[in-house]
Subunit: 230 residues, 2 copies
C-alpha cells in the first residue's frame, strides 16, 4: 500500500491496539484475534499489534492495515518497543504496514540512542513507514527531522522526564499537530470517546485506542475504582 | 448464601454482565468466561450471566455470586428475560444466587403478565432472591409489592412505553432509590465510570455494567462514531 493511500484510509479514524500479555486474564486462546475482528466489525481503520505472528494473523483475518510493534525487554535498557533492527526485520517480514519504534532520547539495548534506529530503517527499507513513539514534543520534532513518517504520542508519561497526565497528553498532541500537520497519531491513555474526539479536534491524523477496548480487566478496574472513590 | 450476607457482599460494588450472542465477533470459545475472570481480577463483586450453563461455569471459575438470567424468545411475546418458570427452574438448578426476570407490565409467553412470575417463584422457591428487571418506576414499585428482592432498571428504554435516554435512566433510579432504599440495582446503558458513580450517589445498592466492559465491538463502535461526529 502506498503511503498516500494508507494515509487516506486511516485519516480521522480509529486504530485499535490489540495486545495482551502473559498473566492477564484475557491472554491467550486467540482472544486478541477476536478483538481485532471486533475492531473491524466496528469500523476501525487499522490495528496495532505486538509480535510478528500477531501482525500476520490479524492482517490475514481482517484485511486492515496493521501498525506492527515488538515489545522486547533487554537488560540495561528501558527501551522495549521495537528496540533493535532484529525486531524491525521480523515485523517487515510479517507484513506490517507501519513499523512503530521507541524514538525517545533514551539508550537502546545497542547502546545507541533509540532514535538512531529511524535512519537505519530508512536505509535498509526505504519504503517502510515509521511511526515514532515519543514521550515529548522535542522527541517528536526530532523524529520527523530524522525521517519518521508519523509521530506517536504513545510514550508521554512513560519516560521519567515526560509530563504525567491521567489521560492523554493534549498539550503535546496540540503542539505537535500545529507544527507537523498530518503526521501525529494520538496514542496513550485514551480511555473515553470524548478524549478520542478531542485528539481529532486538535488535529491528530488518527487515534489509537487500546486498553479501553481490548483489555476488559483494566476497564472493569476503572469502574471498580470509580465506585470506591469517596 | 443468606440474603443479608449477599447484600453486604455486593453493596456499593460493580457487577459485570458477561453475555455474548451468536453472530457477535466476540462470541464463543470461552471468551465470556475470560470476561468473568477479568471482572473478578478487577474487584467486581458479582456477575450477571445468561443461560444456566454459563451461570454454573462462571460461578465455578470465579466464586463470585451470579445473577442468572435466561434470554429466550417466544412467538407472540416481547418478554424474553427469563420469561417462564422453565427458565427459572434451570437457573435455580445451575446455582444462581439471584434470579433476574422481566417484571414489566407486558404479557409473558404464558399469556399472564410478566410480573405474575414473581409470586410463583416465591411460592416454589421461598428462599430464592429475585431481581425484577423493570422499565418504569411503577413497575419497580409493583415488583417490590409482589415480593421481589431487588429492582433492576435494566429495561428502561426497552419497552415502548418507557423513557428513552442515551445513557442510564437517572430519574427512574433516583426515584426508586428514594422510595425503596437498598433494593435498587442500577442497570442499563451504563457506559462510563462517571455514569456508574452517579448511580451509587443516587443511592443504588450496586451497579451492573455489561457492554462497556465485555462487548469490545460495541465499545469500538462508540469510539468510531465519536470520531465521525461532525
Amino acid at each position: 500500500m502506498k503511503k498516500e493511500e494508507l494515509i487516506r484510509q486511516i485519516e480521522g479514524g480509529l486504530i485499535v491496539s490489540c495486545q495482551s500479555f502473559e498473566g492477564e486474564p484475557i491472554h491467550g486462546e486467540g482472544i486478541m484475534l477476536k478483538m481485532a475482528e471486533s475492531a473491524k466489525w466496528a469500523g476501525a481503520v487499522g490495528l496495532r499489534a505486538n509480535e510478528p505472528k500477531n501482525v500476520k494473523e490479524m492482517k490475514e483475518a481482517t484485511g486492515l492495515p496493521v501498525i506492527g510493534i515488538w515489545k522486547q525487554e533487554f537488560e540495561g535498557s528501558d527501551v522495549y518497543i521495537t528496540p533493535t533492527m532484529n525486531e524491525v526485520d521480523a515485523l517487515m517480514e510479517a507484513g506490517s504496514d507501519i513499523i512503530a519504534i521507541d524514538c525517545t532520547n533514551r539508550l537502546a539495548p545497542t547502546g545507541e540512542k533509540a532514535y538512531d534506529l529511524v535512519r537505519k530503517i530508512k536505509a535498509k527499507y526505504p519504503d517502510a513507514l515509521i511511526m515514532a513513539d515519543c514521550s515529548t514534543y522535542e522527541e517528536g520534532a526530532n523524529a520527523i527531522k530524522l525521517g519518521a513518517d508519523f509521530i506517536g504520542t504513545t510514550l508521554c508519561g512513560y519516560t521519567d522526564y515526560s509530563d504525567q497526565y491521567d489521560g492523554p497528553s493534549f498539550p503535546m498532541i496540540e503542539r505537535l499537530c500545529r507544527d507537523f500537520p498530518g503526521k501525529v497519531i494520538a496514542e496513550g491513555k485514551i480511555n473515553t470517546t470524548d478524549e478520542a474526539r478531542r485528539c481529532i479536534e486538535l488535529g491528530a491524523l488518527c487515534v489509537v485506542v487500546g486498553g479501553a477496548i481490548t483489555r476488559p480487566h483494566l476497564t472493569a478496574q476503572r469502574f471498580v475504582e470509580a465506585l470506591q472513590r469517596k
